[in-house]
């Protein structure tokens, strides 16, 4: 019971947190690009867009920051035994994140917001880039810590405890390097889709054509490579995870028996934890071999032999993650990724045909595409984290042994209900505010006489 409640709480708070994180990283980079465009071209349209999307960025950062504090506290609150065991390794990147990244992001966000009329344009432009850099660095340290849970490296076991002996290995962990690249491109995808959707809504509802056609175009130009890289890197990440966490990948394919070559199941009914043979299945030959091993005839070890191997290695127990979550998490991510890619290519075609602002069908689709990255991100994290189960640190500690031994079920319920109510309320407020500000008119251009005066600060 305790471990279930603690897991539900962590999943709930981190999924919510990760709605805001990629928007922050993506929009910070895009806002910095917009401001750079203004700085170089001096075109008022870019200034108006910078202010417009900057406001959205700030609304979003506020809740991203406070939900991030919850994540940090939860390790100690709910996962005391885990924190005690691995704090010397897992805690180190967290502390470095605060010192090297979070200070940078928060301090320079204040400077950017309030510094419009106090800093020289060049310095002010640097502040938004530092905000973007801070948010990207922040993700790097968190991903390094997370990757260590997936594939522990750089430690020796001493008295039953993992002790850090090579910090460099933690930051060159292949799971981290590829996982981090994937998160950054996924964040760019998220930011670009959000920017595209808002611009499309504005274009459909009589927003300023000259302004929002520019942001739509910029969003698409960023989006096409971003989604392509996300998918390509995701593919390579799958191969790496298959090497270190074969259970995760076998479960993602609901592959119970070992196969060579392996077909990729596009869609199936059944084949989960309780009935190993699917009743309906549509397959593509050789595709799984290719995806999981990069070889046409690669071998994928099935869940049943892996379970036998793990039982011998770690003692009796169930080492198979939830196959339903793995299988559909993987497909949600991949199929929606492909859909996003198609939409972005359609947009590129529209730019080429010069029909971007007039194609009402495309603009309608682009507005609704806003939900796609959030579904993909959530599915991706479910795949990553649920696929690690039953381990909290792969091969070192089981999730059920990681909880705080003296935290009672009552306390867990109180905090869980509290977080659900608080996040529910604030999430709704946040969503309505984002919607409201996305639908506002873009700030009017300044009178030509004001062109040389400083732009006023954004204030509370």
């Amino acid at each position: 019971m305790n471990v279930d409640l603690a897991r539900i709480q962590f999943a709930f708070t981190s999924i919510n947190h990760f709605f805001f994180v990629p928007v922050t990283i993506g929009l910070a980079i895009l806002t910095a690009l917009l401001q750079t465009a203004w700085h170089r071209s001096r075109r008022e349209e870019y200034l108006r867009l910078t202010r417009f999307f900057g406001t959205l960025l700030v609304i979003n950062i506020a809740i991203g920051v406070v939900t991030g504090i919850v994540q940090e506290f939860e390790f100690g609150m709910n996962w005391g035994a885990y924190s005690r065991l691995v704090g010397n390794i897992f805690g180190a990147p967290l502390a470095m994140e605060g010192l090297a990244a979070f200070f940078l992001e928060s301090t320079f966000l204040g400077l950017w917001l309030f510094g419009w009329d106090r800093l020289s344009p060049r310095v002010h432009l640097a502040t938004i880039w530092l905000v973007a850099l801070g948010s990207m660095l922040s993700a790097a340290f968190i991903l390094a810590a997370n990757s260590w849970m997936q594939h522990p490296v750089g430690y020796v076991m001493s008295g039953g405890k993992p002790v850090l002996n090579d910090i460099w290995a933690v930051f060159t962990n292949p799971v981290f390097v590829w996982g981090y690249a994937k998160v950054i491109f996924a964040a760019l995808t998220t930011g670009a889709v959000v920017m595209l959707a808002i611009s499309a809504w504005q274009l459909r509802h009589g927003g300023d054509l000259g302004v929002f056609s520019r942001s739509a175009r910029m969003a698409l130009i960023v989006l096409v490579p971003a989604i392509m890289f996300t998918m390509l890197i995701g593919d390579e990440l799958g191969v790496i995870e298959g090497r270190y966490q074969p259970m995760k990948i076998a479960a993602a394919e609901a592959q119970w028996t070992t196969c060579q070559p392996c077909s990729f199941s596009l869609f199936q009914i059944g084949g989960g934890n309780n009935d190993h043979t699917p009743t309906q299945i549509i397959e593509v030959p050789h595709l799984l071999s290719l995806l999981a091993t990069n070889h046409w005839n690669g071998k994928v070890i099935g869940l049943t032999p892996l379970q036998q191997q793990y039982s011998q290695q770690f003692g009796p127990g169930n080492y198979v993650p939830n196959v339903f979550i793995q299988y559909w998490g993987m497909r949600t991510m991949a199929y929606l990724g492909a859909l996003t890619l198609l939409i972005s290519l359609w947009g590129l075609w529209a730019i080429y045909r010069k029909t971007l602002v007039t194609s009402r069908v495309f603009l309608w689709v682009a507005v609704w595409a806003a939900v796609l990255p959030f579904l993909m991100n959530t599915a991706g994290w479910l795949l990553t984290e649920s696929g690690r189960q039953p381990w909290i640190v792969q091969g070192i500690m089981l999730t059920r042994n990681g909880i705080s031994p003296t935290v009672s079920v009552t306390w867990l319920w109180i905090s869980l209900i509290g977080f659900v109510l608080l996040y529910g309320t604030l999430g709704t407020v946040e969503f309505l505010l984002m919607l409201r500000y996305s639908r506002k008119q873009v700030p009017p251009p300044r009178a030509p006489a004001d062109a040389d005066t400083p732009v006023p600060a954004i204030q509370y």
């Binding site: 106090r118 509290g418 204030q459």
Partner: protein, 358 residues
């Protein structure tokens, strides 16, 4: 034992001190923004006086927590799981406070703003109160067993000394906020901030002196106060005198020193313990039985030695950039963001309807 262990205890003490000195006046301004700023323009001026700074200041807390996690995992695990409900409540207050800054001006409706003003005030009182209770508990002792686990209930956290620590910190932040606003505002607000300071200063001074004596009796075996305890008492007396003497700059310096000395006192009197066990002194958590291995501490030492000075430099620069006083006359009670026009007319009526309330 490696010398990194006491070094990291000092780093953590510095981080908590930095947090309270900087975020302390943000808490104070949060508590006072409705008192010092009469009317919407005044409230906005008070909030904007800390607008560019509060977020960077709050990071000190996050880094302090993460540093405890990395350097003293046993301390972090016992403290955060033992003080579970207090921590959950602290998170709640930090959340509502943090979003209140961003959200209160995002809709031009009186009730909306009143709600977030309330959230800001409540959050700004609760956060230092709860952290104060937690720090007081570390020093005074909690039921902790041989395997470093907390065995008490929620109510055991609310022992008199801990609550007194919390109240003292709230009052110190309140005075710190008042002196900050005296330094950063003009005209009527300036006068009201000073008047608030004069009202609060004697109470804060009494509590700080009481706290220092209680702490000394609890944790120290010597008769005489140590230097840092003495500094706390002298600084708060100086602060009270300077507030009455209307020396804004010096008064703010004195309240900053008071808060710093308060927090350092807790950590100095705690060392080498990090959490005292009221069950059995042999079960005390100390820097030695909770610390990470030397290699991890060494790696983080390099990071802290490089980045903490850098952080201090750019945060100091931020304070320099925003050194000007904030005036209520710069703000209107009209829509906060004049540059963002009203929503376009074709927006569905359900949204437009509560926007127009004010």
């Amino acid at each position: 034992m490696s010398s990194f262990v006491p070094f990291w205890f000092i780093v953590i003490a510095i981080l908590w001190t930095g947090f309270f000195v900087l975020e302390g006046f943000d808490f104070g301004v949060g508590m006072l923004h409705g008192v010092v700023g009469t009317g919407e323009a005044g409230r906005r001026a008070a909030i904007n006086a800390i607008g560019p700074l509060w977020d960077g200041n709050e990071v000190w807390l996050i880094v302090a927590g993460a540093a405890m996690f990395a350097a003293f995992p046993g301390w972090y695990a016992t403290m955060f799981s033992g003080l579970y409900l207090a921590m959950a409540l602290l998170l709640g207050s930090l959340i509502i406070r943090g979003v209140a800054f961003e959200y209160r001006g995002k809709r031009d409706a009186a009730r909306w703003r009143r709600t977030w003003d309330g959230a800001l005030t409540v959050g700004s009182v609760l956060a230092p109160l709860l952290i104060g209770i937690a720090l007081g508990d570390l020093l005074h002792g909690l039921p902790i067993n041989a395997s470093q686990d907390y065995t008490g209930s929620f109510w055991d956290l609310l022992q008199p000394y801990a609550v007194f620590t919390g109240v003292t910190l709230v009052l110190a932040c309140l005075l710190h906020g008042a002196t900050y606003l005296s330094l950063k505002t003009t005209d009527g607000m300036h006068e009201r901030a000073r008047a608030t300071g004069r009202l609060v200063a004697p109470v804060t001074a009494a509590f700080v002196i009481g706290f220092i004596i209680w702490t000394h009796v609890t944790a120290s075996s010597t008769f005489f106060l140590n230097v840092i305890e003495l500094v706390a008492i002298l600084a708060v007396l100086a602060a009270a005198w300077l507030v009455y003497d209307r020396r804004d700059g010096f008064a703010f310096t004195a309240t900053a020193v008071t808060i710093a000395a308060l927090v350092i006192t807790i950590f100095v009197d705690l060392y080498p313990n990090v959490m005292v066990s009221s069950t059995n002194p042999a079960y005390n958590l100390t820097v030695h039985n909770t610390a990470s291995a030397p290699y991890a501490l060494k790696a983080m030492t390099i990071v802290v030695v490089v980045f903490l000075p850098l952080v201090l430099i750019y945060q100091a620069w931020t304070y320099y950039v925003f050194r000007q006083r904030v005036s209520a006359s710069d703000f209107t009670s009209a829509p906060p963001r004049a540059e963002v026009p009203e929503p376009r007319p074709e927006i569905p009526a359900q949204e437009g309807s509560h926007v127009r309330e004010s």
